[in-house]
C-alpha cells in the first residue's frame, strides 16, 4: 500500500534517500523500544465469525465532533482510486463498507480481518480461483435505498477502469479472470465474465489462484456503488455512504466534514461505532501549528487529533503525557536495495550492511529511534503473518560495525577507499542532506568510497527507477497491502520483474533458486503453508544473498487531545482506528 502523501512527497527524503548513520555502534540504552514485536500465527489475523453490533465503550459520551488535522491531504476520495493509507482509512473506517474490513482488537492491540457487508470472509473453491461473498440483509445507502449485490459487482468492474480512475491497487488486473483484457464499465459496455451475481451473492472468478482475496476485499474498491448514480469524474466528491458517517461537504485539499448516517445499522457491523455526531478533517495544515494546538489541549483542541507522525521537536513535549500519544507500527520496511548486477560480491554487500550508520542516519534525518523508526531485522515487518525473526548480520539492525565491514572488504579483495558506492539524495531537503552526510561519514569510516548523487524531492523517484543511472544503491521501502508475505516478495523480488517499467524489482534481484522457490510457494503450497514459507524465504534470501540492507521499520507516533477516546494504531495502515473512536465523558 502507498504511504500517505506526506511520506511520498515530504519525506521523499526520509523514505527514498534514507541513509543512515554512522560511526559508532553506540546503542542508547534509554531508547524505549516500542511494542513492535507482534507477529502472530496466521489464524489470529482473521475472525470470520465476528458479529455486530460492536459495543460502545463505557467511557464514551454520545455526540460531539472529532477534528482531525493533518499536514497532508488525500489526493482523491473516490473509492476506486483510494490507495494511500489516509484515504483508505477515512473511507473504509467511516464512510464506505466493503466486503470485509479490518477491526481493531484491543486485547491483542492488533488489527483483525472480519466480515463487513459480507456475512463471512468469503467462500472459495479448492484452488482459490472462485470466491463468493454473500451480502448481509438490511444494508442501506445514506439515502435509504437498499444495497444490492449488483452494486458490489459494479464497483468491482469499476476498479478495472484504470484509464478513467487511475492510481488504485491493481491486483485485480493480475489475478481476476480477464483482468488483463477488461477495461472497466465506461469503455467496455459489455458484460464482464469475472464477476457474477446470484441473489444476494457476488462471485469473483480468478485466472490464477488468489488465496488473499479476503484481504483484498477489504479495500474500498470492494464497496457498493449504484451504477445509476455513478460518474467517474465526480463520484469521489460525494461517494454514497454505507458506513456510519456520510459526506456533508468536501473541499479537496482543504476540508472534509462528515455527519451521522442514520441509515447505517450497527447490528450488521462488527467493526464500527457511531458515537460522535460528526467528523471534521482539516487538510494541508501547518505541522508546527497543529502540533502546538493539540499539545496545549485547550477548548476544542481536546477533541482534536492528527494522523501525522509527531515531529522530533514536539515528541519531547508530549512524551511525558503518554496517554495522549499513540505509538505503534506500520507495516513498512525501509531498505537500501543493493544493485545485484553491479555489486556482485556478497561479501561487499554484507560489508555495506555492517557499514551503514543506522542510528546516526535516523537521528540526523529527524527520526526518533524506536518511535518513528524501529530497528529492523527480517524484511517482513512485525505484524505480518508467517514472519520469521532472524538477524542476517547479527547487528540487530542498528549496531554498525565498521571493523567487520573493513574485514569483509579485505576478504573481497578491496583496499580501503577503493570500492565506490553511489546513491541518490534530495538536495533540496535538509533532512535528506543531513542523513546523507551521516551515511557518507559511516561508509567512509568502514572503508568504502561514498559518492552521493544529488537529486531533488520532485525527481528522485524517477531518477531512482532509471536502469541507466550510475547509482549502485537505491533507497526505498515497501508497505504491506495485507499482512502476508504474498504481498511482498512476488511484488519486489521476482526475477521476472527485472527490466520492467518502473523498476519494481529495485535490487535487480534475479537468482534461479530463489525464483524457483517463489514459484513453488505460489503454485504448489496451500495458503496456510505458503504463509510460513514466505517467512522462510525471507530468511534464506537475506542470509544467502543479502540483496538489501534493512534500514528500519516504519513507526507511528500520533498525538491527540485529552478527550479523544478509542484512538489506537491501525497497524495495517499506520493510521488511527477511526472506526471505534469517540469523545470521552
Amino acid at each position: 500500500m502507498r504511504m500517505k502523501k506526506s511520506a511520498v512527497v515530504v519525506a521523499t527524503a526520509a523514505l527514498f534517500t534514507l541513509a543512515a548513520c554512522g560511526g559508532g555502534s553506540g546503542n542508547d540504552a534509554k531508547v524505549n523500544a516500542t511494542n513492535n514485536g507482534k507477529g502472530g500465527a496466521a489464524g489470529s489475523f482473521k475472525d470470520p465469525s465476528a458479529k455486530g453490533p460492536l459495543a460502545v465503550p463505557s467511557d464514551a459520551s454520545q455526540g460531539g465532533t472529532l477534528t482531525v488535522m493533518t499536514a497532508v491531504a488525500p489526493s482523491t476520495l473516490d473509492p476506486t482510486q483510494a490507495y494511500y493509507t489516509d484515504s483508505t482509512a477515512i473511507l473504509s473506517d467511516l464512510v464506505l463498507r466493503s466486503l470485509t474490513q479490518y477491526a481493531y482488537n484491543p486485547k491483542t492491540d492488533d488489527m483483525q480481518l472480519v466480515p463487513d457487508m459480507a456475512t463471512d470472509l468469503g467462500q472459495h473453491n479448492a484452488d482459490n480461483t472462485e470466491w463468493t461473498f454473500t451480502l448481509k440483509d438490511g444494508l442501506k445507502y445514506e439515502d435509504g435505498t437498499p444495497v444490492k449485490a449488483e452494486d458490489v459487482a459494479y464497483a468491482v468492474k469499476r476498479s478495472f477502469a484504470i484509464a478513467e480512475l487511475p492510481d488504485g491497487p491493481t491486483y485485480n488486473t493480475t489475478f481476476f479472470l480477464d483482468g488483463d483484457k477488461y477495461k472497466g464499465p465506461f469503455k467496455d459496455k459489455g458484460a464482464y465474465a469475472g464477476v457474477s451475481v446470484s441473489g444476494n451473492a457476488v462471485t469473483i472468478k480468478m485466472r490464477r489462484p488468489f488465496a488473499d482475496m479476503d484481504y483484498y476485499a477489504s479495500f474500498p474498491q470492494f464497496t457498493a456503488i449504484p451504477e445509476a448514480k455513478d460518474n467517474a469524474a465526480t463520484y469521489g466528491r460525494h461517494p454514497l455512504a454505507t458506513g456510519p458517517y456520510k459526506f456533508v461537504s468536501y473541499k479537496p485539499q482543504q476540508e472534509l466534514t462528515l455527519t451521522k448516517n442514520t441509515n447505517w445499522d450497527p447490528s450488521t457491523d462488527p467493526g464500527r461505532i457511531q458515537a460522535v455526531d460528526g467528523w471534521d478533517f482539516k487538510f494541508s495544515q501547518d505541522t508546527a501549528k497543529l502540533e502546538n494546538l493539540i499539545i496545549n489541549d485547550n477548548g476544542s483542541a481536546q477533541t482534536t487529533l492528527t494522523y501525522d507522525n509527531v515531529s522530533a521537536s514536539s515528541y519531547k513535549q508530549i512524551a511525558s503525557d503518554k496517554a495522549r500519544l499513540v505509538q505503534g507500527t506500520q507495516p513498512c520496511t525501509f531498505m537500501w536495495y543493493l544493485d545485484m548486477r553491479k555489486i556482485t560480491d556478497v561479501n561487499v554487500r554484507r560489508a555495506i550492511g555492517y557499514a551503514y550508520p543506522y542510528q546516526s542516519a535516523w537521528k540526523a534525518g529527524g527520526e526518533i529511534v524506536g518511535v518513528t523508526r524501529v530497528p529492523g531485522t527480517s524484511i517482513l515487518p512485525p505484524g505480518t503473518a508467517g514472519r520469521k525473526e532472524y538477524d542476517a548480520l547479527g547487528i540487530k539492525g542498528e549496531n554498525t560495525d565498521p571493523a567487520k565491514a573493513k574485514e569483509l572488504l579485505k576478504k573481497a579483495g578491496y583496499a580501503p577507499g577503493q570500492y565506490e558506492l553511489k546513491f541518490l539524495f534530495a538536495s533540496d531537503d535538509d533532512q535528506a542532506v543531513a542523513t546523507k552526510n551521516e551515511v557518507v561519514k559511516g561508509l567512509t569510516a568502514a572503508g568504502f568510497k561514498a559518492t552521493p548523487i544529488a537529486s531533488t524531492v520532485a525527481t528522485i523517484r524517477t531518477d531512482r527507477t532509471d536502469y541507466n543511472s550510475p547509482i549502485n544503491i537505491r533507497s526505498s521501502g515497501w508497505c504491506s497491502d495485507w499482512p502476508s508475505g504474498g504481498s511482498w516478495f512476488p511484488a519486489q523480488w521476482a526475477g521476472s520483474l527485472v527490466g520492467t517499467e518502473g523498476m519494481p524489482n529495485i535490487a535487480n534481484f534475479k537468482e534461479a533458486d530463489m525464483d524457483a522457490e517463489q514459484n513453488r510457494i505460489l503454485d504448489k503450497l496451500s495458503p496456510a503453508d505458503a504463509v510460513n514459507a514466505w517467512g522462510q524465504f525471507d530468511e534464506t534470501m537475506e542470509k544467502k544473498y543479502y540483496p538489501a540492507v534493512n534500514i528500519g521499520y516504519g513507526g507511528v507516533a500520533m498525538i491527540h487531545g485529552s478527550k479523544v477516546g478509542g484512538m489506537a494504531d491501525d497497524n495495517v495502515r499506520g493510521m488511527p482506528t477511526f472506526a471505534r473512536m469517540y469523545i470521552t465523558k
Binding site: C21, A312, A361
Partner: protein, 354 residues
C-alpha cells in the same frame, strides 16, 4: 583635501558641485576664476570640498551611521576570519555525532535547551544532527556576506552599463535595452529561482565536486540578473537629462570618444544614486539569500543562516536559541546595513543640505 579637489576639477569638471545638477564647464571655469580672486581663507571654506567629501563629512558626524559601520565591519571580520574564530572557540563545522551528541528525543545531550551553558558549544548544538551552532553561524555569516557582496557588485555593474548605454544611445539601442529591462522586471524572480535550482541539480548532480560551484553560480546569477533593473532605470533617467547639458555637448563637439564621455563625463555625476543603490542593495541580498536558502534554493551543504532557520523553525518553542541565533544575525546585519544605507543616501542628497 585641496589636492584631491584639484584633481577632481581637472578631470571631472562636473563633479565639483552638486552631483546631480551637472554643472557646465563654462560655468565652472568662471566660478573657479572667481574663487581665485577671493582671499585664501574664504576660498578654502567655499571650494575645498567635493560632494563625496561633503557626504563623508556628514556621515562621520552621524552617530547612527558610525555605529552601523562598526557593526557591519564586525560582521565582515567574522566572515573573513570564520575558520580562525571557530578554532578560537574550539568548535568545528559539521562535526556532530548524532549518537553521542543527542539524547533519545534527538535533542542536544549537552548545552541548551536542557543543560546549562557550556563552552563546548556556546550557541548550543543542533538537534537531530548534533552539529555545532556557533561554527554554523560564523560560516553562515561568510555565506551571507559573500553572496550579498558579489551579487551587489555584479548587479550594480550590469545596472550601470545598461543604464548608461540605454540613456546615451538614442533610438534603437535605448528601445532594446528598455525592452529587456521590462522583460526582466516582469519575470517573477522567485519562480525563476525555483525553476533554476532543479535544473542545476539534475545537470551536475552526479558530479558532487562541481555541483557546489554551479549552485553558487546559479544563486548569484539569479540574484544579480534580477537585481540590476532598478539601478539601470535610475541611471538611464539621469543620463537622459544629463546628456543634453552643455558640458556633454561641449565634449562631443571637441570630439571626445563616446566611451570617455560615458565613463568620465557622465558616470561621476551618477556616483550618488549608485552608492545609494549599493547600500540599499546589500541588505536586500542578505535577506534574499536567507529567503532562498529557507526555500531550499542555494548551495547545498554550505552553512547558511537561511538553511539554519529552515531547520530551526519547528523548534521555536522547545529550543528557541537554535532559531534566534541566525535570526538575530540576519536582523542585526540587515538593520545595520539599511540604516547605513539610509544615512548614505541622506548624506548624498542635496535636498537635505543645510
Amino acid at each position: 583635501m585641496r589636492l584631491t579637489r584639484r584633481h577632481h576639477a581637472a578631470h571631472e569638471p562636473a563633479s565639483t558641485r552638486k552631483v546631480t545638477m551637472g554643472i557646465s564647464p563654462t560655468e565652472l571655469n568662471s566660478s573657479d576664476v572667481h574663487e581665485d580672486t577671493q582671499p585664501e581663507l574664504v576660498k578654502k571654506k567655499i571650494a575645498g570640498r567635493s560632494p563625496t567629501q561633503i557626504a563623508l563629512d556628514r556621515l562621520k558626524k552621524d552617530k547612527i551611521a558610525m555605529t552601523c559601520t562598526v557593526i557591519v565591519l564586525l560582521f565582515i571580520a567574522i566572515a573573513i576570519f570564520a575558520p580562525l574564530l571557530t578554532d578560537l572557540f574550539g568548535v568545528k563545522l559539521r562535526a556532530g555525532d548524532p549518537i553521542h551528541d543527542t539524547d533519545q528525543f534527538n535533542f542536544p545531550a549537552f548545552g541548551p535547551p536542557d543543560h546549562g551553558f557550556t563552552m563546548k558549544a556556546p550557541f548550543g548544538i543542533a538537534p537531530n544532527t548534533g552539529d555545532d551552532n556557533l561554527a554554523e553561524w560564523f560560516y553562515g555569516a561568510r555565506t551571507s556576506l559573500a553572496v550579498a557582496t558579489i551579487a551587489t557588485v555584479i548587479s550594480t555593474l550590469i545596472g550601470i552599463v545598461m543604464g548608461l548605454v540605454a540613456g546615451f544611445s538614442k533610438g534603437v539601442g535605448d528601445k532594446v535595452i528598455t525592452f529587456v529591462l521590462d522583460v526582466f522586471l516582469s519575470l517573477p524572480f522567485l519562480i525563476v529561482a525555483l525553476a533554476l535550482a532543479p535544473i542545476i541539480t539534475s545537470r551536475f548532480g552526479d558530479k558532487p565536486d562541481q555541483l557546489e560551484f554551479w549552485q553558487f553560480v546559479a544563486l548569484l546569477s539569479a540574484l544579480s540578473f534580477f537585481g540590476w533593473m532598478t539601478l539601470a532605470r535610475l541611471v538611464r533617467g539621469e543620463v537622459l537629462s544629463l546628456r543634453e547639458r552643455e558640458f556633454v555637448q561641449a565634449a562631443r563637439v571637441i570630439g571626445v570618444p563616446t566611451r570617455r564621455i560615458l565613463f568620465k563625463e557622465l558616470l561621476p555625476n551618477l556616483i550618488a544614486p549608485i552608492i545609494v543603490s549599493i547600500s540599499l542593495g546589500l541588505p536586500a541580498y542578505v535577506t534574499a539569500e536567507a529567503g532562498l536558502a529557507y526555500l531550499g534554493i542555494g548551495v547545498v551543504g554550505v552553512p547558511s543562516w537561511g538553511q539554519t532557520i529552515n531547520k530551526a523553525v519547528p523548534f521555536f518553542d522547545t529550543y528557541p536559541l537554535y532559531l534566534y541565533a541566525p535570526v538575530l544575525g540576519i536582523l542585526v546585519l540587515v538593520v545595520a546595513l539599511n540604516l547605513l544605507g539610509d544615512a548614505v543616501r541622506d548624506a548624498f542628497d542635496p535636498k537635505t543640505r543645510r
